[in-house]
Symmetry: D2
Amino acid sequence: MLPDVQTLRPDIPVGLSRVGATGIKKLVKVDRGEGKRPVILISVFDVFVDLSPDRKGVNLSRNFEAIDEVLESLTAKPIRKIEELNLKIVDELLERHDYATKAEVQMGSELILIKKTPATKQRTQEVVKIFCKAVRSRNNQDKKIFVGVEVAGMTACPCAKELIKSRAAEKLRDSFTEEQIDKIFDTIPVAAHNQKGWAKIKIQVTEDFTPSIDDLIEIARNAMSYQLYEILKREDELVVIEEAHKNPRFVEDVVREMAKASVLKFRDAPDDIIVYFRHLSDESIHQHSVIAERTATLGELRNEIL
Amino acid sequence: MLPDVQTLRPDIPVGLSRVGATGIKKLVKVDRGEGKRPVILISVFDVFVDLSPDRKGVNLSRNFEAIDEVLESLTAKPIRKIEELNLKIVDELLERHDYATKAEVQMGSELILIKKTPATKQRTQEVVKIFCKAVRSRNNQDKKIFVGVEVAGMTACPCAKELIKSRAAEKLRDSFTEEQIDKIFDTIPVAAHNQKGWAKIKIQVTEDFTPSIDDLIEIARNAMSYQLYEILKREDELVVIEEAHKNPRFVEDVVREMAKASVLKFRDAPDDIIVYFRHLSDESIHQHSVIAERTATLGELRNEIL
Amino acid sequence: MLPDVQTLRPDIPVGLSRVGATGIKKLVKVDRGEGKRPVILISVFDVFVDLSPDRKGVNLSRNFEAIDEVLESLTAKPIRKIEELNLKIVDELLERHDYATKAEVQMGSELILIKKTPATKQRTQEVVKIFCKAVRSRNNQDKKIFVGVEVAGMTACPCAKELIKSRAAEKLRDSFTEEQIDKIFDTIPVAAHNQKGWAKIKIQVTEDFTPSIDDLIEIARNAMSYQLYEILKREDELVVIEEAHKNPRFVEDVVREMAKASVLKFRDAPDDIIVYFRHLSDESIHQHSVIAERTATLGELRNEIL
Amino acid sequence: MLPDVQTLRPDIPVGLSRVGATGIKKLVKVDRGEGKRPVILISVFDVFVDLSPDRKGVNLSRNFEAIDEVLESLTAKPIRKIEELNLKIVDELLERHDYATKAEVQMGSELILIKKTPATKQRTQEVVKIFCKAVRSRNNQDKKIFVGVEVAGMTACPCAKELIKSRAAEKLRDSFTEEQIDKIFDTIPVAAHNQKGWAKIKIQVTEDFTPSIDDLIEIARNAMSYQLYEILKREDELVVIEEAHKNPRFVEDVVREMAKASVLKFRDAPDDIIVYFRHLSDESIHQHSVIAERTATLGELRNEIL
């Protein structure tokens, strides 16, 4: 009989908040509903349980068995929502680690979407990050699930645009009337620095409120000055640049746009749903990146916006 | 006169939790006290302020000016502690962003230490990560400073060691007495899987409690099975392996060792000091990594340990 | 009619070795032959063509169209080998960039394999990197294709093992006979530092020589002291550690084992096939990593080994 | 006496191209000449030697001793050029590994430079990567040294600019004369996508030709549409955007600009000096990045350009 060191009492009777494994890669098949092809995701999981002061170690192989058990049960009945998948894993973790009072799982995937370019309607693709986090205590008092997305997009700088317009207007006044100048600026998208950035939303999910990943992607994508495409014919590139410069946005603006769109989209969601928005912009004129963030409940945002 | 777009009212009146810049690299010179050479650090800063719903954007260049101002003032009077440096930056941020109610700075550096190998006393080096985070609200009600370290080290697995001993003892019983077998195991370090890992401590700093970075490094280093060296002559390598296998430790053990050592070292610290411990082990027998964590106050840990 | 700037003459008439796009993610479905399930890969592509001194720019969207064209044609007739896929992309690139004399594609994927643990035969998984590189000039004079794999595994250090044995033998001699000591060392796996590493093979593919990815994975995996598993029950862990310590290997040994196994496996391959072997070991007793490499033709290796 | 396993004959008599250690971090102090402050660099070294088929392993600790020996000798007589430093390390490696016929070292550092913003002359900084690679065979027949830099900068897209101008001109023709339209475009910088990118130069160094790092940085910086600044006041931001849009550049253009500037700057360099240029642009309208490269001798470039 082999010794089982994990079950011994530890020398130092200190409890641990989280013990687990990170970076576990798995293939996950998500059913997208009737008429849609199922999605294959390469997902990375992190799984944790807590540990009491009187047990030396966690049986880590059970974490893998819990994930495998749930993923395999899916071949029979495919999962419709990643939050269901994660909640099942948390349940399975509590089942298998009977000494734990709390379990947690985080899952992240890259989703490859197909879309059309704005002018020539070329089929092209977009890679979007999706993620889920589920925490549950054995007594269910502490149960929280979040889903989220991170979408790459483009922002043009509102400040730069105004600086360029202001300086150009000054010079144009020598030769043109104010009316002509207005016409010129209505016609010509003036230069501004623009760059790639990543808009991120994380939102709480409950039994009664289950926002769709597609809606979250839509909100994140529309919050930036314009979206990205892998293929752009010249006609498309023209549209992308014109439209992005019509909608210049600071990182602050992107977060506020996501907050407003979420309030408008999720009208029926309870007031206490927690949301987190972030935009990170990899500035084209600086070496550093710029970030704006907001954490709030939907109720708080409703008060501010409506 | 150029337009100042940041000062406008935003279209969507939502406040922002944090707006700022990340990844700002600076050279920092830290005075280590009399008789010690000052340390040159390449530090990476992230700086943030909050933003009210009635202002479109933050003046980001002020973040850089705040850091530069503080770093330059140091040539006159060198800094003794990284927490002082970070607190000064936070003060400077609140000074320059008069519309902000809260400011935050995070700083991370790699520190190159010189040490001697255990047997042949070769001079060799160790790279340790140190970091600091300071948050302060304008009214001082919300003021928190943390310093921390992350040290690489080696752990040998206690479970693997016992498995090997148990199986070997079984076989040895055919030819040796129990007494001889005890002698054999006293003499031979038996195999176990062992691997590199990173022990991390983050601890709250107050006006009355300022733990030294050196003590934190010492606590993290000693919590693992053994420390790492860049140069190891054969005599040294022998010591490292023997000693590491005498002190096999799970990730759980490493966190508990740090908790205990902190309680013993910081006897005079207030009960409400917050500490965070983590050990991440890049398992040599698995593709994944394993993590254990504990967040607590020193008071809570004292209750559990003493 | 929109202007086409890429087709202009450049101001500076310098030719370019490679112009292209990197980091293009695509879903690829590879047919594994009768009776085997097709494999879904998330692949990352880099594609390049050369550019003459008299053309300002490359039409980059054609790179994406070339990949998409080839990937979509696969739904009709699934690909059997990643080298076929890459060669088709190169052909398509030369077709679409009529100004180019050379095209190149690189593709990398993570492959998730299922295997059984050594003792308890638990189903577990392994993530392996596979890659392919194809280069072709329009006149076919310069045509080279490589496929490769990178497999994680464990190495125990031969030097450390002998140091421990030597020191222990010295001490055991007080109480045991030489014969007894031999018996002891036959029975007990003694400690050595051991760690995760990555064995990599890249091998040239021709029309006449097409090594299978499965064989390459097998060669890489067996070259290290032992392989890794995500799930290990105690009985399995015991086998892993015992076996790894029976086969201690330096990075140098891992490369030599791969060289030998390739020579033995690919007996019918031409002498001029180019191979590259590398092992990178993330040392458990040092902060740095250690690497060994060999580039040669199979003919050269045959001369050295046979 | 401890066993020395590395010196044994290996089971498989295969020679190795390179064996060594990677990721060795060291503080390096470089003397910049009279009147300039010495520069402190945190440098990362990779060091390799070859290994014959009749020796099992390399003594890796000698790699560290070689670096340390050279770095410490510098306190007496500070180094003026990173190529000198690297060449000394290679010599020291050959000295210490008497079984090696070839040695190689690579070194990379981040250099923090101070510069002034274009309009308001604020002091700000720039982080530039510098690197060096030295290879030498014992018989000196194979001796090559390269130094290089990688500088971040901004590019605006020439194609996008022309697309926007072309479409806008069409619309302006309803209300303005051709002469007025010319005047408008002379005055207003029109929109184009613009982004951060990295221009890289690697150039061979010989006893007779030692280009300065400062010159390489200057060439890389000027090859892009404009340079980056950490601090930009509004007046500065205006200049950056105006100037970048006056100099729109493809990745292809950036490489060609570097080629031309190198030919003009290094007029006295021998024809057979090898140079490598690369520009990587992290496109603001795509998820992927775009790359252009050229490897050539200065002689070849002279033929193409002059």
